[in-house]
Amino acid sequence: MFRFIVRRLLQLIPTLLGLSILLFIWLRRLPGGPETAILGERGTPESRAAIRRNLGLDEPILIQYGRFMKRMLRLDLGVSTSTRREVTTEFLQRFPGTVELTVTALIIAIGVGIPLGYLAARKRGRFLDHASVGGSLIGICIPVFFLAYVLKAIFAENLNWFPSSGRQDPTIGATRVTNFFVLDGLLTREWDAAFDAIWHLVLPGIALASIPLAIIVRITRASVLEVLGEDYVRTAESKGLTEAVVRRRHVLRNALLPVATSIGLLAGSLLSGAVLTETVFAFNGIGAFVAESISNRDYPVLMGFIMIIALVYVLVNLLVDLSYSFIDPRVRVR
C-alpha cells in the first residue's frame, strides 16, 4: 500500500516538472517579457532594463530556468502589481473563502444530487426521472456567471432574502482566527457571525453547485440504474432482506463507486466556476482575485495563483485516485 502511494507520487514529478517548464516558457512569452511578471506593465524602461540585468535575462536559458525553479521552491512568487503585497500572502489570505464556497457547493451538489439521482433511477420513466434528466441537461448548459447574476437579481436584490455580495456583514465585527469565517464564528462562539457567514454562502454556493449537481444527478442515476439490473441485487432480494438493507448495502454501496470517482473530477469545474461566481458576488476568494488580475494585467498574481491552483488540482486528483483503492476492494493492492 505504502509503496503504491510512493510510486504514484513519483509519477507526479515528471508532470510537475513539465508544468514548470511550460510555465517558465509561458512567463517569458507574456506580452512585455518576464520583467512584466515582476514589475507589471508600469515599469519604466530603466527599471525594466535593470530587472533584465538583475534577472540575468541575457544568460543562457537553462540558467534562467534554474533561477526560476529556485524561486519557485522558495515559494517566492513575486509581488502583486495591484496590491503591492506578496503573491503568497494574497493567496493565503483569500483561499479560505474559496474553500468555504467550494465546500458549500459540494455539500449542495452531493446532498441534493445523490438522492435525486437515486430516486430518478428508482422511478424510472416517471415524471421525476424525466424532470431530473432534463433539469440536469439544462443545468450543464447554463453559463455559471449568468446563473449567478440571475440568482443575485431575484433573491438578493429583488426579494432581499439573501445578501448580494461579500463574505460577511462587516458591521458584525467578527473576530478573525483562521480566516475561515464560518469556522471562526463557531470557534469564538459568535453565533451570529457564523450564521451570517453561512447566509452569505448560500447564493454563490447554489450558483457554483449547478454544474456539479447536474453531473452528479446524471451519474448517480445511470449508476443506480445499472446496479439495479445486476444479479447480486436479485440475490439480495431473494434472501428476503428489507428494502432498506438492499438499498444501503447492495445498491448504493456499488452504485456510488463511479459517483465517488467523478466527484474528484469535479474539482476542475468547481475551481473554474469559483472564478466566475466569486466575481459576480464580490466574494473575496482566490477566484475573484484571479478575475481581477486578468483585468488589471497583474501578471505576478495571475501566474502565481495559476501555479498554485494547478498544484492543488494535481494533488487532489492524486488523492482521489488513491482513495478509490480504499473504497473499492477489487482495486486494492494485495
Binding site: 513539465g18 508544468l19 507574456l30 506580452p31 453559463p143 466556476g273 495571475l302
Partner: protein, 322 residues
C-alpha cells in the same frame, strides 16, 4: 422415395422461411444508429434546435432589418444608457435597443453566426490537434512496439500536463499570452478540448489494436500504416463525432465565460452571444433583456448540441444497443 423426398424438401423450405426474420437483415452501425435516433424524442428536439440555429446563422444575417453595429438609438436620441434609458420591445425593434443603441434583434441574428463560428472553430482546433496527438500516440502504442510505447508515453505526459489545470484557467493562461480578441478565445477554448480528443482517439486506437482483425491484418503482412489509416481510424470515427458535438456545446459556454472575464474582443461591436451577455451585465438593473436574450440563445443552442450528442452516444454505443 421421391414422394417422401419432395415432402421433406417442402418442410425444409417452410422451416427456412421461418428462420429469416426482419431484424436479422444486416445493418451497418450508422444505419442502425440513425434508425434509433429517429425514434428518440431528445435527439429530434436537438436536431430541430440545431437546424434552426444553423439556418439562422447562415441565412439570417442577410435578412436582418438593421445593421448589427449601427448605433441607431444614440443617433435618434432614444437611448441614453448613462441615464438609464434603454427602450425595450417595440414594433420596429422586436427586441429593443442595447446600451449602445443598436438593434438587439439584428445583433442576435448576426450573433448566431458569430457564436456558431466560435464554437465550430474552437472545436475544430481541439479536434484537429487532439486527434492528431491521440492518433499518433494510439497507433504508436498499439502497433509500434517498444519504441511506439515510448512515444505514446511522452505524448500522454504532455496531454496530462494540459489536464493538470482546470479548463478555465488553462484558457485564461493561453488568452493572457495572446491578448484579448475573439480569435484568442477560439484558440484558448480549442486548446482546452485537445486532451479530451487525444485521450479518446488514443484509447480507441489502442483498444482496436488488440482486436482480432488487426492481429489478422498484421499477420497477413498488411503495412501498419495502412492498417492504422484505413481500418482503425475509420472505426474510431463514431466516438469522435459524438465528442465533437458535445464539445461544441461546452465551447460556446466557455467562450462566453472568457468574454465575461474580459478576454474576448474588447470592441464589442462584433456581436457574439457570449460578448453580448458579458456586456449586458452592467445593465441588468435597467434592461435585463439585454442579458436574457443572448443567455437564452446560448443555453438553447448548447442544449441542442448536448441533446443530439448524448442521443448519438447512446445510439452508437454497442453495449447499449439491444
Amino acid at each position: 422415395m421421391t414422394i417422401t423426398g419432395g415432402k421433406k424438401r417442402e418442410k425444409l423450405d417452410r422451416l427456412a422461411e421461418l428462420s429469416v426474420r426482419d431484424d436479422e437483415r444486416g445493418a451497418s452501425l450508422w444505419q442502425e444508429a440513425f434508425r434509433q435516433l429517429r425514434r428518440n424524442p431528445a435527439a429530434i428536439i436537438g436536431a430541430v434546435i440545431l437546424t434552426i440555429f444553423v439556418l439562422v446563422a447562415v441565412i439570417g444575417p442577410f435578412l436582418v432589418p438593421y445593421g448589427p453595429t449601427d448605433t441607431i438609438g444614440i443617433r435618434e436620441g432614444v437611448v441614453k444608457s448613462g441615464q438609464g434609458i434603454i427602450p425595450g420591445i417595440s414594433g420596429e425593434h422586436w427586441l429593443g435597443y442595447d446600451h449602445q443603441g443598436r438593434d438587439v434583434f439584428s445583433r442576435m441574428i448576426v450573433g448566431a453566426r458569430q457564436t456558431l463560428l466560435v464554437g465550430v472553430v474552437a472545436t475544430m482546433i481541439g479536434l484537429a490537434i487532439g486527434t492528431l496527438i491521440g492518433g499518433i500516440a494510439g497507433a504508436a502504442a498499439g502497433l509500434g512496439g517498444r519504441w511506439g510505447r515510448w512515444v505514446d508515453s511522452a505524448l500522454m505526459r504532455f496531454i496530462d500536463m494540459l489536464l493538470a489545470m482546470p479548463s478555465l484557467l488553462l484558457a485564461v493562461s493561453i488568452a493572457a499570452l495572446l491578448g484579448a480578441s475573439l480569435t484568442t478565445v477560439m484558440i484558448a477554448v480549442g486548446m482546452v478540448s485537445v486532451p479530451v480528443f487525444a485521450r479518446l482517439l488514443r484509447g480507441s486506437m489502442i483498444a482496436q489494436s488488440g482486436s482480432d482483425y488487426v492481429t489478422a491484418a498484421v499477420s497477413l503482412g498488411v503495412s501498419k500504416r495502412k492498417i492504422a489509416l484505413g481500418h482503425v481510424l475509420p472505426n474510431s470515427l463514431a466516438p469522435v463525432i459524438v465528442q465533437a458535438t458535445l464539445t461544441l456545446a461546452t465551447a460556446i459556454i466557455e467562450a462566453a465565460a472568457l468574454s465575461f472575464l474580459g478576454l474576448g474582443n474588447p470592441d464589442s461591436a462584433t456581436p457574439e452571444w457570449g460578448v453580448m451577455l458579458a456586456d449586458a451585465q452592467s445593465y441588468l438593473g435597467i434592461r435585463p433583456g439585454l442579458a436574457i436574450y443572448p443567455a437564452l440563445g446560448i443555453i438553447i443552442t448548447a442544449l441542442g448540441f448536448t441533446l443530439l450528442g448524448e442521443a448519438m452516444r447512446e445510439a452508437l454505443d454497442p453495449k447499449l444497443r439491444k
